[in-house]
């Protein structure tokens, strides 16, 4: 049985110019211990579909789904208490914009220690020790000093790693990571991905990884979903996807890998489509 199972998810927003469909009948499922990568163009509904699962969309959103279950339980209309027990504890999320999702008025140490005290029942002292361990694990330099810093006193990549530390602090069973390494160079990206894969292997954590980076997909995913304009284009295990991509959009994504760039212009997906048509 899938840990998370979502069928025919649709999300519509009420906007000034009428209703806008951001997610159009998407299915997502992930098993225990599995890494699912979601890739797709900017604005294709990757973040919105996961925020719908977390119950974090604004009131202007209308969410419908044929099924939305976690561990066999319906999560489409949890009470506030049930949701608090689940979200942030069993299911956690690394948000796409780390600086915006940290509270500017509290030190980063306070923010992670609060999660540790509330979710794991640690004492103040234990929480600080564990927070420092987590900061070291995600490679924040000089953690003893940084733990007392406010978000604006940290660099973009450091804030991103604080978010990652907070998301893994309560040993979640499902981690949804939305572009978790965008602010990080490949060396630190590797350290973070290794850390997530280790958690995943040691505790059987399920991981949904939203990314635009096909290199990250190649190095982490078991299964891949490709989204384009709010719809699923393709779903395949990682090897098949790279070996024999089925949808034109996936082929375009792979051909746009920088190592395939020729000449002094970078190819866009529409360039690729017009080439395919011309062929």
């Amino acid at each position: 049985m899938a840990l998370l199972n979502i069928k025919n998810l649709t999300v519509k927003f009420a906007t000034a110019t009428g209703s806008f469909t951001a997610v159009d009948g998407i299915d997502v499922h992930v098993d225990r211990g599995e890494v699912l990568a979601i890739v797709g163009e900017s604005g294709s509904g990757k973040s919105v579909s996961m925020l719908a699962v977390m119950g974090l969309l604004p009131d202007t959103a209308t969410i419908t789904a044929d099924e939305m279950t976690y561990d066999g339980r319906d999560i489409s209309d949890l009470s506030a208490t049930e949701r608090r027990h689940l979200i942030g504890r069993e299911i956690t999320m690394i948000f796409q914009e780390p600086v915006a999702s940290l509270n500017p008025s509290f030190t980063v140490g306070f923010q992670i220690e609060e999660v540790l005290r509330l979710n794991l029942g640690l004492s103040r002292h234990e929480a600080r020790t564990r927070a420092l361990d987590l900061f070291r694990a995600v490679g924040i330099p000089d953690p003893e000093t940084k733990i007392d810093a406010y978000p604006h006193q940290m660099s973009g990549g450091q804030c991103q790693r604080v978010m990652i530390a907070i998301a893994i602090a309560s040993n979640p069973r499902l981690l949804i990571a939305d572009e978790p390494t965008t602010a990080l160079d490949v060396t630190i990206q590797k350290q973070i991905l290794d850390l997530l894969m280790k958690l995943q292997e040691d505790f059987g954590m399920a991981l949904i990884l939203i990314t635009h980076d096909m290199g990250v997909v190649a190095e982490t995913a078991d299964r891949v979903v490709v989204q384009y304009q709010g719809k699923k284009m393709e779903e395949a295990d990682v090897l098949s996807l790279f070996e024999a991509p089925q949808s034109p959009y996936t082929r375009a994504l792979l051909s746009a890998l920088p190592e395939h760039a020729t000449g002094d212009r970078l190819p866009t997906v529409s360039d690729f489509f017009s080439q395919e048509v011309a062929r």
């Binding site: 906007t15 000034a16 110019t17 211990g33 890739v39 163009e41 900017s42 604005g43 990757k46 973040s47 796409q96 914009e97 600086v99 915006a100 330099p141 003893e144 000093t145 733990i147 007392d148 810093a149 406010y150 006193q153 940290m154 973009g156 990549g157 450091q158 939305d178 572009e179 965008t182 602010a183 990080l184 160079d185 490949v186 060396t187 990206q189 590797k190 292997e201 635009h212 980076d213 096909m214 290199g215 990250v216 190649a218 190095e219 078991d222 295990d237 090897l239 790279f242 375009a252 792979l254 746009a256 890998l257 920088p258 190592e259 760039a261 212009r265 970078l266 190819p267 866009t268 529409s270």
Partner: protein, 283 residues
């Protein structure tokens, strides 16, 4: 060509930045030196890429070059004139000449302002352009960065991460700046939209001789956009030179580590990893 046109558009001499840090159980309150004497110069129509590990001081330097923060030491020169914003606030001419795209687009957008107004506001403040022309220009810019006309009346929170990043770029371009400082401007974009934005920046540079300072941690982006590259580590420039030289023969261990850690996407490597995982699960 006149003599002045040979001077760099922007130049830094011994730029230093200190930040106050909080005290803690373990350390007394004090100062950290985020930049320790950086020298650089960028010629007109060229792109300087700044590369370096997280926390090395890239955004700190970008904010100084874009006249957002005053450095604690050193001299910043724009068009061969010293600029010290701690002593004299930059006037409107200088303000519109130098624009910045921030690393964190959400934080730099007013949540209560519709995107159309975000784009038109710089024109209202800095020009006497009629309203209809302001609107035309904003709509054209929305299209150029790959967004739709119906986005004009939406608020920042109604956009995806990559869309917000493009709004930040569009806003910075509205005033036709001659020096544009971009801090990780394409990090949240899929390759196709990234290509569209980088192509746009390259076109604008060709057409208007724009000068760019471009912070990025992505070597494939740097290879495409940069003329010169500066690698910083712990607040010091540890490697500086032409793009060709850097890619042909990287010198600093950090630069080499970057090349070595670039993820591989070839099928053989993926197959090996998939098999390793299967074995680990079985065992």
């Amino acid at each position: 060509m006149t003599a002045t046109s040979l001077a760099p558009v922007v130049e830094g001499r011994g730029i230093v930045q200190d930040y106050a840090v909080p005290g803690s159980l373990f350390a007394r309150a004090g100062k950290v030196r985020a930049l320790n004497g950086i020298d650089f110069a960028v010629d007109k129509g060229k792109t300087l890429a700044i590369v370096g590990e997280s926390g090395s001081g890239k955004s700190t330097l970008a904010r100084i070059i874009a006249l957002i923060d005053a450095p604690s030491g050193g001299e910043l020169r724009i068009d061969d004139h010293p600029v010290d914003i701690a002593r004299k606030r930059p006037g409107p001419a200088l303000r519109s000449k130098v624009q910045m795209v921030f690393q964190n687009p959400y934080g730099s957008l007013n949540p209560r302002q519709k995107i159309g107004n975000v784009l038109m506001e710089p024109l209202v403040i800095n020009t006497d352009m009629p309203a209809s022309e302001r609107r035309d220009r904003a709509e054209a810019m929305i299209k150029k960065v790959g967004l739709q006309p119906e986005h004009f009346n939406r608020y920042p929170h109604m956009f995806s991460g990559g869309q917000r990043q493009r709004i930040a770029i569009a806003r910075a371009l509205m005033l036709n700046p001659s020096l544009l400082v971009l801090d990780e401007p394409v990090s949240a974009l899929d390759l196709s939209v990234q290509a569209q934005v980088l192509n746009l920046l390259a076109d604008l540079q060709d057409e208007f001789d724009l000068t760019y300072v471009f912070v990025s941690h992505d070597l494939s982006v740097v290879r495409y956009i940069a003329d010169e590259v500066m690698v910083i580590s712990k607040g010091e420039a540890v490697e500086q030179g032409s793009r060709e030289a850097l890619f042909a023969d990287p010198q600093h261990p950090y630069t080499r580590a970057l090349f070595a850690a670039t993820p591989v996407t070839d099928v053989a490597a993926i197959r090996a990893r998939v098999e390793r995982r299967k074995a680990a699960r079985a065992g």
